[in-house]
């Protein structure tokens, strides 16, 4: 019987020609474990690896579509060198194929000359997913301060604020809900378990199980996202006003209901730290340690005094003649400035809803009884509030993220069973066992993220084209470089950029104001390590083609809740004359004279990967990436677990134990800040540096450092300004499960899904807003902001906030790829690439635009 199935004829074939190769996915940054079936040298099927404890063998749509990335006939097949000197949008660069030797000699010669002159004149915009630390080491070895995410910006891709705020709160660069035990989850602008939020498959399984169990799910989002569709309650909100909602919830909990975990605040937070009238910590004269008021002793004591019995959360005290009060008392006063009625006018959420949510959050947390796991007792606070770009990627995203973490903290949910958990820390990336939270000053977690400078080296005039000096707390403000680099003297920078190295990113589409980004590249020597010719490569001088993830090696762990490493290996040999991106960087480092020596690339990798003798890289020789991974694997797991072991087994991953993720063991006696003294201090240091240098005379206006405050307050984004130009709607951008980043558009399977059964390629608008503008479903409409305009097809839906329109994905592409070309609208065209629309804490660009919408 001849049945129309694809495989029946194959399975009786030569078994020796069939291989099942364990590796990892890289269709997003989560790197889920997969197995690839290879028949006679052709990869025919990708499936989840059932041995992985996180995914349990399941895989999302993106992962299922990986073969269309591998076998994309439009991939770059060899190094390319430009022959047409004129650069412009859509202008054919006149590519000619070159050998690797020729291309690398050209790039290496140019980069080496720049390095001898002034290495900061090279900008590097890297977004190689998991390998960013390994790639950053290259920037450090080269010596440029304009590396890392310069020009491309994690600030335009990710939720920067949580990397900082989560880290200083509980040693986590991002946190997530403990879905196995949670009873009430509040999601603010995140697609957890449904679209984009770390590992979709991991969270999807656990979220579905939690909902089955009866966990209540509330989703606050301007748009009825996939996860909002699954919620018990969808709370539509005006974009960028989550901060207001959270402050009002904090007011209800702290002032109206008294629903706070006082025991936690007294013993495990800095809420009782005494502050003076100015807001500064009152310190012990001898040790400099912060003081608290002990109600039992009736006197001030050090926060870490073992005899401390009952730290005060309220009251006014006198310590050595200084009038002071516990920080918590001051915080409560500030929250009182923002009751639900005020928040309702800003957010569009009824005050009664805000009060109900706050009460429910507090009661569910505080009513929970004790819990024992694996024979040990842990704090049990089964509520969690989590966010992603929807809350954070706004000009006030840093303040909103502070308020979010405080909300989790005041009910004791931080690292409690059922609460909001820290991701396994930075060590997960290197496969190390999870340590305790690194201790910083004042009894709080350290404000340090390896590979990044937080609040270090703020001096003027600036040396960075990202003006990072003005954003001392952010991971980066990389999206600003295209603006600053075109006129560095205007910003007091004493040199101009000469070259730009792009690695696995497309800043023309994924940043803002594409015309400005393209113009910035016209006069630079641009080198692009890429799979495809895209909108950015139109401005490149040299293309260095990267192998796809199914042709490369890797070790990685970006999971939320796992220890160990996941391996990546070629499932087929490189199909074309392409190389691993890290091998390309190693070659360029050698040509620039920064591979070897005590400050060379190898030496930096030894430090960043935490390689210990005898498994360290020889700083004087050149390695291939595959060899580095072998040293790394042996260092972490022993000599019997080099990459040959991983070739067969694929991963060495396990879930964290309760002791590794819950309080108190992970905290090691540290307190969590709810009073963000460190942020305030950084703001004061920035103010002093600005005053000393007179930099604001160059800038031309006074730089507002007021956002760097200890207590979050309502601060509108520029998008909330009263508008008199008719930009009467907000436009937001959203992801789908099938497309979460800009390069998905080259995948015909995923684009077919995007273009059918959902309005993902259309522009969503509320029926009321549409009616007022004479727009019917299917009409072609124009969305126009102060800086750009796009057109698309209207999709009317009640699933969007009434004053908001939604544009999905990163569409509206002019790259010459048949799957991508001329489909959908490009949201980022609408965003001003401006300093004032950048979050002063997190560094993220404001990702929502004020627009007017008309029928074409």
């Amino acid at each position: 019987m001849a049945i129309a199935t694809a495989r029946a004829a194959d399975d009786g074939g030569d078994a020796a020609a069939v291989r099942l190769v364990p590796t990892h996915c890289q269709m997003c940054y989560s790197h889920c474990a997969i197995r690839v079936r290879v028949e006679d040298g052709v990869a025919v099927k990708i499936e989840g690896d059932p041995t992985n404890p996180l995914t349990r063998g399941r895989l999302c749509a993106r992962g299922q579509a990986g073969l269309m990335k591998l076998y994309d006939p439009y991939r770059v097949r060899a190094p390319l060198i430009r022959t047409n000197p004129r650069k412009g949008k859509g202008v054919d660069p006149g590519w000619r194929e070159a050998t690797w030797d020729e291309a690398l000699a050209l790039v290496g010669g140019r980069f080496a000359a720049i390095r001898r002159d002034n290495p900061h004149k090279l900008m590097a915009g890297f977004w190689p997913y998991e390998k960013f630390i390994v790639a950053f080491a290259w920037c450090m070895a080269y010596g440029t301060d304009n590396g890392q995410f310069t020009f491309t910006g994690v600030s335009s891709h990710c939720a920067n604020p949580i990397h900082l705020i989560g880290n200083i709160t509980h040693g986590s660069q991002a946190d997530f809900p403990d879905l196995d035990h949670c009873r009430l989850l509040v999601v603010l602008g995140a697609g957890i378990g449904a679209t984009g939020f770390n590992n979709l498959v991991f969270f999807a399984q656990r979220l579905a199980a939690a909902r089955e169990r009866g966990m209540r799910l509330v989703v606050v989002d301007p748009r009825l996202s996939a996860i909002a569709a699954k919620a018990d309650e969808w709370v539509p909100i005006v974009p960028g006003t989550d901060l207001s909602l959270l402050l009002a919830m904090l007011h209800v909990l702290a002032n109206e209901e008294g629903l706070v975990d006082e025991a936690f605040l007294r013993a495990s937070s800095n809420a009782p730290y005494l502050i003076d009238a100015d807001g500064s910590l009152v310190r012990d004269r001898a040790s400099g340690e912060p003081l608290v008021w002990d109600e039992a002793a009736g006197s001030a004591r050090r926060h870490d005094d073992p005899s401390l019995a009952r730290p005060a959360l309220d009251g006014r005290f006198d310590v050595d003649g200084v009038a002071c009060t516990p920080a918590w008392a001051e915080m409560k006063r500030r929250f009182a400035d923002h009751p639900p009625e005020a928040a309702s006018a800003i957010t569009g959420v009824p005050a009664a809803t805000i009060r109900r949510l706050a009460r429910e959050f507090g009661r569910t947390a505080l009513d929970a009884g004790p819990v024992v796991l694996d024979g040990a007792g842990y704090p049990h606070r089964p509520v969690s509030a989590v966010s992603y770009r929807g809350l954070q990627a706004h000009a006030n995203g840093g303040l909103a993220t502070m308020a979010l973490e405080i909300l989790n903290a005041v009910v004791g949910a931080l690292d409690a069973v059922g609460g909001t958990l820290a991701r396994s820390g930075d060590e997960r990336r290197y496969g190390c066992e999870p340590p305790k939270i690194p201790a910083g000053e004042d009894g709080l977690p350290a404000a340090h993220i390896p590979g990044f400078s937080l609040s270090e080296g703020t001096s003027f005039p600036p040396r960075t084209f990202t003006l990072k000096e003005l954003f001392p707390l952010s991971i980066d403000s990389g999206h600003l470089a295209p603006r600053i680099a075109q006129d560095p003297a205007r910003y007091g920078i004493e040199f101009a950029p000469e070259a730009l190295l792009i690695f696995h990113t497309n800043p023309v589409m994924s940043s803002a104001e594409p015309e400005l980004v393209m113009k910035a590249m016209e006069n630079l020597f641009v080198v692009d390590i890429t799979l495809h010719l895209d909108e950015t490569t139109d401005f490149a001088d040299v293309i260095l083609p990267e192998s796809s993830y199914l042709e490369r090696y890797n070790l990685v762990n970006l999971e939320s809740d796992a220890v160990g490493l996941q391996f990546g290996q070629p499932v087929v040999g490189p199909l074309h004359d392409t190389r691993d991106g890290i091998d390309i960087l190693i070659d360029l480092a050698e040509r620039c004279g920064c591979l070897t020596g005590p400050a060379g690339y190898n030496a930096l990798l030894n430090g960043l990967l935490q390689l210990a003798a005898p498994h360290r890289l020889d700083t004087e020789r050149r390695y291939r990436w595959e060899e580095i991974l072998d040293v790394w694997a042996r260092c972490r797991f022993g000599d019997d677990h080099g990459i040959d072991w991983f070739r067969t087994h694929g991963h060495r991953m396990r879930l964290r134990t309760p002791a590794e993720k819950y309080r108190p063991s992970r905290w090691g006696g540290l307190r969590a800040p709810v009073y963000y003294h460190f942020i305030r201090e950084t703001g004061r240091e920035l103010r002093a540096a600005l005053d000393r240098s007179g930099y604001e005379r160059v800038l031309g206006y006074r730089w507002d450092t007021g956002d760097l405050a200890a207590v979050p307050f309502w601060k509108p984004s520029p998008i909330h300004a009263n508008d008199r130009s008719g930009y009467d709607l907000y436009c937001i951008n959203y992801k789908s499960a099938s497309l979460t980043s800009s390069d998905g558009v080259t995948n015909p399977w995923l684009m077919e899904v995007a273009g059918s059964d959902t309005p993902f390629l259309d522009i969503e608008i509320h029926p009321d807003a549409a009616k007022a503008r004479g727009i019917r479903s299917g009409d072609r409409i124009r969305v126009e902001s102060a800086v750009g305009a796009v057109e698309g097809r209207a999709a009317l839906t009640a699933g969007i906030q009434t004053r908001t329109v939604g544009i999905g994905g990163v569409f509206g592409r002019w790259m010459r790829h048949p799957a991508a070309h001329s489909r959908g609208a490009h949201h980022n065209t609408l965003l001003p690439l401006g300093i004032e629309s950048t979050d002063k804490i997190g560094g993220d660009i404001e990702s929502c635009a004020r627009v007017r919408v008309t029928r074409v």
Binding site: A2, I3, A4, T5, A6, R7, A8, A9, D11, D40, V42, A43, V44, E47, G48, R58, L59, C60, A61, R62, G63, Q64, A65, L67, M68, Y71, D72, P73, Y74, G193, A194, A204, Q205, L207, A208, E212, G214, L224, A226, A228, A229, K230, D232, E233, W234, P236, A737, S738, P748, W749, L750, E752, V753, D757, T758, T797, A798, G799, P818, A819
Partner: protein, 212 residues
Amino acid sequence: MARYGMVIDLDRCVGCHSCTVACRQENATPPGMRWTRVVQVDEGDTPDVRRTFVPRGCMHCARPPCVDVCPTGASLKRDDGVVLVEHDRCIGCKACMVACPYDARHFVEPTAGYFGTVRTPYEERLGAARHAEGTVVKCTFCAHRLEVGLQPACIDTCPTVARFFGDLDDPHSEVARLARGPRASQPSPEWGTDPSVYYLLPYVRRADGERE
């Protein structure tokens, strides 16, 4: 004899289309043809909008009208309940497509590859030749996987564990148990086809936290 069937929990489905793409990858269906897909159904007004994601595909009916109308006997129902098309007997008359009330049958048009005229090694090996032009094709419940003891690809990959597969005739099977549950319903039973795909309807969640 078994009656293979599927239960899809609409309360769990988040509309991620993993099943859609897994099916494409497993069966190398031509561009534009999806043997399983997910549609989005909205009811109600802001903010009380109920959005349901509904995976759609062949129902492998116990009384399949598509089989009844097939003039050549190419469409058949196996003893295990799987409804298939023998492509070498199919003349492409499309009578079955008209008869199927679930829009689950697809005619293989002459089409280009996923990237246009250039065909990938994957397509060369698996693709177009298996779906003969001018014939009707459909979901097979991944019959080739069943033969070697695997479940259909859409079942194995579902990130929310919303899809279940098994023998409806075995009262102890998970699918039989789920199909007996209070939320279970066959799509459009009024058509009298007795589908082997059951949906578990979403809970109605009330503001007080209870669900119905």
